[in-house]
Symmetry: C2
Subunit: 349 residues, 2 copies
């Protein structure tokens, strides 16, 4: 790179001081500078192709104008990757509106869970979004206690850290109500993950409440536990099918797991939705292309990213919002796997 022009060069060319250059270029309000001078500065900057040095600006302002998105990899790796484009683009979209940059920081499996704290402590960023918080992350709690701006994507029970997530319980209720409305009475469930995961517990609770609303007793025997992946869904569905009295419909709280469930059904020659109705959760990109196309609960990844970034930036800028935690609504996407489309729901049970 040839020598970069500095504000001194611009000042010299425009015949003013560096102060004036800064005032003009930053459009500082309440300071009157003659239109001619202003024009001369602008012209000089343009002519020299001058852009203020970000590092100097950061140092003097004490702001990085950057937020970080910290991305944990875990057993739910593939599952979460499906949401990365949406989440990230939502976050960058909001960030841009407010003049912030976005640093992407995945925590890889060979790193300690709190490898990201250096970003905060070293002032690489003004705040951060932590996607997939670990409950044993004490560095996280320390930082929050010290007032470092933080927003979680997901939930950390017990900590009062601002967070953004989907309303899992309501999402599950919507899914199960849909099956109920289609006439099903014997509805099974496969969770998205072990119950150690908050989202998993919430989705199960939604299932339970929807049944309760309909006056159907909760039956433990109809619940199986998924573990993020296809194979766990396959096994869960096989177990359900092996029941003396299998359900006529199943709510699978994860599309990825539902893919496995659909496979188990296919392998056993059961037709979907005729022999078994299935509703998923997440609305990953693949779901619309499955055969039958999967009816599922849409999770607004872009909106989550957007909300997280916006909330974070408001915290950074001193606004202390109290509508936390933010819970975005889900939406049922009716496709073919539930039978609502064909008008031919399995009405047994």
């Amino acid at each position: 790179m040839p020598d970069r022009p500095t504000s001194r060069d611009v000042a010299r060319l425009a015949g003013v001081s560096r102060t004036t250059v800064s005032l003009v270029l930053n459009n500082v309000p309440d300071v009157h500078i003659s239109p001619e001078t202003r024009q001369r500065v602008l012209e000089a900057a343009r002519q020299l192709n001058y852009y203020p040095d970000a590092s100097a600006r950061r140092l003097v302002s004490g702001k990085t104008s950057t937020i970080a998105l910290v991305w944990h990899r875990g057993p739910d790796r593939t599952y979460r990757d499906a949401f990365l484009p949406g989440l990230l683009q939502g976050a960058t979209h909001a960030a841009r509106r407010y003049g912030y940059y976005v640093l992407f920081r995945p925590i890889e499996s060979d790193e300690p869970d709190d490898a990201w704290v250096e970003l905060a402590r070293g002032r690489h960023t003004d705040g951060l979004i932590l996607s997939g918080p670990r409950s044993d992350d004490t560095a996280l709690l320390d930082l929050h206690r010290e007032g470092f701006p933080l927003v979680l994507h997901g939930q950390l029970p017990g900590a009062d850290i601002p967070s953004v997530d989907v309303d899992n319980e309501r999402g599950a209720m919507i899914a199960v109500r849909h099956l109920l409305a289609l006439g099903h009475r014997r509805i099974g469930m496969v969770t998205n993950a072990p119950l150690a995961y908050t989202a998993s517990r919430q989705r199960l609770e939604g299932y339970r409440r929807a049944l309760e609303e309909a006056g159907i007793p909760f039956d433990e025997a109809l619940v199986r536990y998924g573990n993020f992946d296809e194979e766990s869904g396959r096994q869960a569905m096989e177990a359900l099918l092996a029941l003396a009295e299998p359900p006529t419909a199943v709510f699978v709280a994860s599309d990825m797991v539902a893919i496995g469930a659909l496979r188990a059904l296919r392998e056993q020659g059961r037709r979907v939705p005729e022999d078994m109705a299935v509703v998923g959760f997440d609305d990953i990109a693949t779901s619309r292309y499955l055969i039958p196309a999967l009816t599922t609960v849409h999770v607004p990844a872009f909106g989550l990213g957007w909300s997280a970034a916006e909330l974070l930036i408001r915290i950074i800028e001193g606004d202390t919002p109290n509508e936390t935690p933010v819970r975005l609504e889900t939406e049922l996407v009716v496709r073919e796997s539930c039978g609502a489309r064909s008008g031919d729901a399995g009405k047994r049970g």
Copy 2:
């Protein structure tokens, strides 16, 4: 945030100068500092929970230790999003190895194509990866001429800017050779995009060359043009099926487009692979779950991100690599849509 400790605080606590603190913490070689002093500094830093301020460091070093990934959105939006997680994680993986951070910068549709130049000119980053370069981007050429470190993901014919991409032509050859090996002689093609796109031209060329190798004349009538999306693939396949003498196999140079092609086949009651063999390109996440599962050419997104970041960092650090352009190999993923699995390829034609 409470007052952050500075190097002065550490120096004071350890009873040394700030120089010594810097020397110790940065592990500057060839400077002998007594083990006791070193220990005292380290202890003081630990005790104060001191992390050097990144902004100050950037300013004094003239380095940001950051690379940016610029992500263009275009008509190929959905298509490209499928590769974002892999590309980004590959890039961050390589960046971390070399001590760099990654800034993610999507260019949204309401922004000028060169909205990213400010990142470079304002010294927000030491270099950048441009994914989806536009050939009319003169700012790009200017920056490259000035010596700003740049790596393209994709290709820009005519410009000698370092780039990383997949070997599209070979990938297409692999796909078509596979169909030839299965006994097909009348093989159609649907491109991934209009021929204005370099990758599209290259994949078509690979198709043509594979046929040539086999002594089969190229027949323009068997080629249709896709446009990134499902619908374009559906129409292309319908056109192919409407031919007086339709092909027995089709190479669709994009999985997304192939999804549409499969749908057209299904709608017309044709069985895949029995009535028509199909091979795709890209290996997007969805392809393995299609019915039949799509045989396709795998594009190593993670490897592309990794290579791009590594090449960029080597350029930043003064290494002028000459193995550019980098072309990664693809790999055929044989699944069900081509008939190789069932041993029952359509052998007519």
